[in-house]
């Protein structure tokens, strides 16, 4: 084997242009594939990550405005959900399907003050499940819990942005302090994380506390719950239609009016997203494989020319005792060596490109109004995928070289010697 590599090394050293061309084709193919997949993965990660922030595995319903006249009512009628809807949701019709029903009150704006600092807040009554529902990340302290709701505690959860405005020198130290909201005072029990730019900064208080102070009606802002039973997109859609249809009947909304109720179905959204991301992933792979094929074609093309060009040399080798197998081995080992070495270079450069993307493009956020979204998140390709791709190219390159190599090995020495 060592002898063979000496043989190949001298052949490669003395055919630099050919080696460089083959190598370039291989490196370029692998580089493009990995850079492409890396960027694609970054895009997917960003997409999924951004979605995960807003989408939870729940269904939420809010009252909105009708767009069609129905049952004697004019269009543009404001729909408000109330205790009746909660009772229906929790009722026998959906027993076993709907669980964990929770609700929020409408929100009331209030100016929060502490030691001369002030910040704008939206006070709303929530149930403990709201934390998971809204996918809030706690930065300090805790969220509203069942005891808070039961005992109507005057506690409030602020965002980190509020904390910075109210107590700039020690934002986290605000937990435990009493802040004023208008004429009332609430004790801060926790901070949830939010981006600086986020203007929708609710300041949750217990549901029962809100009802006692701001709104004694049985109106609710939203109803949220978990669903168990439906398994696929179709079943979830059927469930949603049945449930929302019932609510529409209760509120006399036209069955085909899309505006009367605002429904956010985390299950179907997730499923559609997964489907979309699956399609994007497949598209990326197809693009990648096409790139790889161009690399393979490059390699096999050069192999073809190489073998043709070296026929005379193979004739000499045969005349002095090279067996067909020796010639085959020489060509194949040479092609594997080139593709492997340059494939590795391409792989390395591709991963470097991903790294550079991570340090540049991925660091820049794009402002989408209420939030900053990073276009690329962790653009990288797993080492396994990179190695597999390189291996694939090596195998394909070898297979592509096999046919001309086989022909070269088969040609009679006298014919090979005549070739120029």
């Amino acid at each position: 084997m060592r002898e063979l590599f000496h043989e190949i090394a001298s052949s490669l050293r003395n055919n630099k242009l050919r080696t460089a061309l083959t190598g370039f084709a291989v490196s370029w193919g692998i580089f493009l594939l990995i850079a492409l997949l890396g960027a694609g993965n970054g895009l997917m990660n960003s997409f999924m990550g951004n979605m995960e922030q807003f989408v939870s595995q729940t269904v939420s319903v809010e009252g909105w405005r009708t767009s069609k006249p129905y049952a004697g009512y004019k269009e543009n009628r404001r729909i408000e959900l109330d205790q009746r809807d909660i009772d229906y949701t929790e009722g026998r019709d959906w027993e076993g399907t709907i669980t964990g029903v929770t609700t929020t009150t409408p929100s009331t704006s209030a100016t929060l003050t502490l030691n001369g600092h002030s910040a704008g807040g939206w006070i709303m009554g929530v149930m403990p499940e709201n934390l998971e529902m809204e996918k809030r990340q706690m930065a300090a302290g805790r969220y509203i819990n069942a005891a808070d709701v039961k005992e109507r505690r005057k506690v409030i959860v602020l965002s980190t942005a509020h904390a910075k405005e109210l107590q700039p020198q020690d934002p986290e130290g605000i937990v435990g302090k009493w802040v004023n909201a208008g004429a009332l005072a609430f004790r801060v029990i926790g901070l949830y994380h939010t981006e600086e730019q986020d203007f929708r900064r609710p300041t949750p208080i217990p549901y029962s506390t809100y009802k006692g102070i701001y709104d004694s009606s049985d109106k609710v802002e939203s109803i949220s719950f978990s669903v168990s039973g439906p398994k696929n997109l179709k079943e979830h859609e059927a469930f949603q239609e049945a449930y929302v249809g019932a609510l529409k009947r209760m509120h006399s909304i036209a069955p085909d009016d899309q505006m009367g109720l605002w429904v956010r179905n985390g299950y179907t959204q997730n499923m559609q997203m997964n489907k979309a991301s699956g399609i994007i992933r497949i598209a990326l792979w197809i693009l990648g494989l096409l790139t790889l094929i161009s690399g393979i074609v490059g390699v096999s093309n050069i192999m073809l020319i190489t073998v043709k060009e070296r026929t005379h040399e193979f004739g000499i080798r045969k005349a002095i005792g090279a067996k067909p197998g020796d010639i085959l081995k020489l060509i194949i080992t040479e092609s594997v060596t080139i593709t492997a070495a340059f494939g590795y270079v391409g792989m390395f450069l591709g991963m470097l490109a991903c790294e550079i993307m991570d340090k540049t493009v991925a660091q820049r956020g794009v402002n989408v109004g209420f939030d900053t979204i990073k276009m690329l998140v962790n653009p990288s390709v797993g080492l396994d995928v990179a190695l597999e791709a390189t291996l694939l190219l090596i195998i394909a390159g070898t297979l592509a070289g096999l046919v001309p190599a086989w022909k070269a090995a088969k040609v009679k020495p006298i014919e090979a010697l005549r070739a120029e």
Partner: protein, 238 residues
């Protein structure tokens, strides 16, 4: 027993029109002979040499090399026989251009599986014999025609073959170098007792050998004993 024994060898090329090149060749060459096969171009002399060198096959007849029948060999067997029994010298030298002189000489031993160090030593030994020690690290295109042919001769000799087959060995050389190369082959024949078969169309070259086999239109004509080297009085002139 003769080293080479040909009996009624026939060879036809079928490139479009069938071309009967060798029409029943009978020939015996003994161990240690220095023979020339002479003929005009198209006489079939190169085909005969290719068959002798197992580079090409024949249609009918028998070819015994050192008592072994050379017929219907696989490429692998043929390669092995070529490697161990035969050394080739070509008109156009047929050195591998991207290998140095010593690497070219080593190559037959590489295919015998001789370890690198050993074959290098041996190749240097043969280069020294041919006065090419200082050219060992040079590539073929840095050498003169005579030097290249001497490298080729060293490569042919390194496996210590039973026969050296030389196809127009002086065809690409000037007259002075031609004389040197023929003298070298003669010396190898006399000192080492190697059987040498030279194919040529030049009578001056043939005159240096001990036996001249004339071939014409695919059949062997007369065979001249030439021990006095007077078959061609003009000497080795081109």
């Amino acid at each position: 027993m003769a080293l080479i024994e040909l009996k009624d060898i026939n060879k036809t090329y079928n490139n479009g029109q069938p071309l009967h090149v060798l029409k029943g060749i009978n020939l015996q060459i003994e161990q240690g002979e220095f023979v020339a096969i002479m003929g005009a171009s198209g006489s079939g002399k190169s085909t005969l040499l290719n068959i002798l060198g197992i580079l090409d096959n024949y249609d009918t007849g028998t070819y015994l090399l050192d008592g072994t029948l050379m017929k219907d060999l696989s490429e692998k067997q043929a390669a092995s026989y070529r490697n161990h029994m035969i050394g080739f010298i070509f008109q156009s030298f047929n050195l591998i251009s991207f290998k140095t002189a010593v690497e070219n000489v080593e190559l037959p031993l590489y295919y015998q599986g001789v370890p690198r160090r050993q074959r290098h030593e041996k190749a240097m030994e043969y280069l020294e014999k041919l006065g090419l020690t200082s050219w060992a690290g040079h590539f073929p295109n840095e050498m003169s025609g005579g030097q290249k042919q001497r490298v080729a001769i060293a490569r042919a000799l390194i496996t210590q073959p039973r026969i050296i087959l030389a196809d127009e060995p002086t065809g690409a050389l000037d007259s002075k170098t031609s004389v040197e190369v023929m003298q070298l082959l003669k010396r190898l024949n006399q000192e080492e007792g190697i059987t040498i078969i030279v194919v040529t169309h030049e009578s001056g070259v043939a005159n240096e050998t001990d036996k001249i086999i004339h071939i014409k239109d695919g059949v062997i004509g007369k065979i001249e004993e030439n021990t006095r080297h007077d078959a061609w009085q003009g000497g080795l002139i081109k």
